[in-house]
Symmetry: C2
Subunit: 212 residues, 2 copies
């Protein structure tokens, strides 16, 4: 999962570890907290060993003027290689069982802008199926085993059931959207960031949820 996320982010622009972590937190904030360095750095090393990313020299100009007196341990910028892009395409296109758990689905979804529509549909339906199964399990417990459980546990299940039903509805909407051709995004985005803007958030009239 981490591998897929890193490859995806580096496809947008080269980054060093710290930055990667922050971007990841911004992109996956809805799914999970920040990634740990204890996962990040070993994974970077693994990806580099596999040839999917490489170190990019930082500050290529004016290099010799500071001759590494203290062996200058600067930031290490990574960029994705051609093989890395291939790997990303392969990972994003195939769906195993881990694609449908909370984290896996979140990562895949976060890169839907780089995923073709058929795959998007497949993943959304797989996720829906999985959530429906969880929902049925919770209904079973609430129905058949309710008297074995205390009030707090029951309340927990009810809240979980509610969340399941809500997510299924959300997925239904997304699936309907995909099928009707008009996705909530442009299917081919090549955006590389870098924009700085302090005051621009949406002007008043813009309603969020509507599907034109």
């Amino acid at each position: 999962m981490l591998e897929l996320a890193i490859l995806g982010l580096l496809q947008e622009s080269p980054m060093h570890g710290y930055e990667l972590r922050k971007e990841l937190a911004a992109k996956l904030g809805a799914i999970r907290a920040a990634i740990s360095y204890g996962s990040l750095y070993p994974t970077l090393r693994r990806l580099q060993a596999a040839g999917w990313i490489t170190e990019a020299a930082e500050t290529p100009a004016t290099a010799e003027e500071v001759p590494a007196l203290t062996s200058r341990r600067g930031r290490v910028v990574y960029k994705i290689t051609a093989e890395g892009k291939e790997r990303f395409a392969q990972l994003i296109g195939q769906a195993g069982p881990e694609t449908y758990d909370d984290t896996g689905f979140g990562v895949h979804f976060a890169f839907f802008a780089r995923t073709d529509q058929a795959t998007r549909l497949r993943i959304l339906e797989g996720r829906r199926r999985k959530i429906e199964e969880r929902r049925e399990g919770l209904r079973d417990v609430l129905g058949r085993a309710a008297e074995r459980l205390d009030a707090y546990t029951l309340e927990l299940q009810r809240h979980g059931l509610d969340a399941c039903e809500r997510e299924v509805r959300w997925l239904e909407e997304l699936i309907a959207n995909e099928r009707s051709g008009r996705a909530p995004t442009v299917p081919r985005a090549g955006t590389v960031g870098g924009r700085r803007d302090t005051d621009s958030p949406p002007p008043p009239g813009e309603s969020r949820k509507e599907r034109p």
Copy 2:
């Protein structure tokens, strides 16, 4: 976390591994899928080594009629010890940072019937605080960094934000309930609080469950 969950379940009745896994799945179904055996068995061993659980002989009567022809590798039933109950009380009463993440909170909440009211309140408020922080992070991203992200990522954040707001409301309700004295349904209180006597009385008979 697993340690706490196992100790809590064994407090209700002795069980073997397979059963433990199923009960755990039923009790925590809203939070996470079934626990893996790759975690369960090593943890059981660890708990046993620490003296918090012991193996209980199965089928104490009519033992000699099947003389273990094939060294009978039967089920191993575990039961909690007095030290184990103490350990449970200690774990359930203290709250670290991991108490407020999804899994940690779920496990603690699932055993609220064995937690005193002050601790319940503390945990609910800690969880609320954490979710509020996540919510603010998502609002920030949706407000300030919206133009850097594609439509799918934004939709993911919106769904996450919605879930946060919903959970905060749920927690508010529970907190209000706790403060007003009447718990969701069964104010079955008077359970383990701080560190007190070692010799705890049998749990208040709230859950009927018989083993065949």
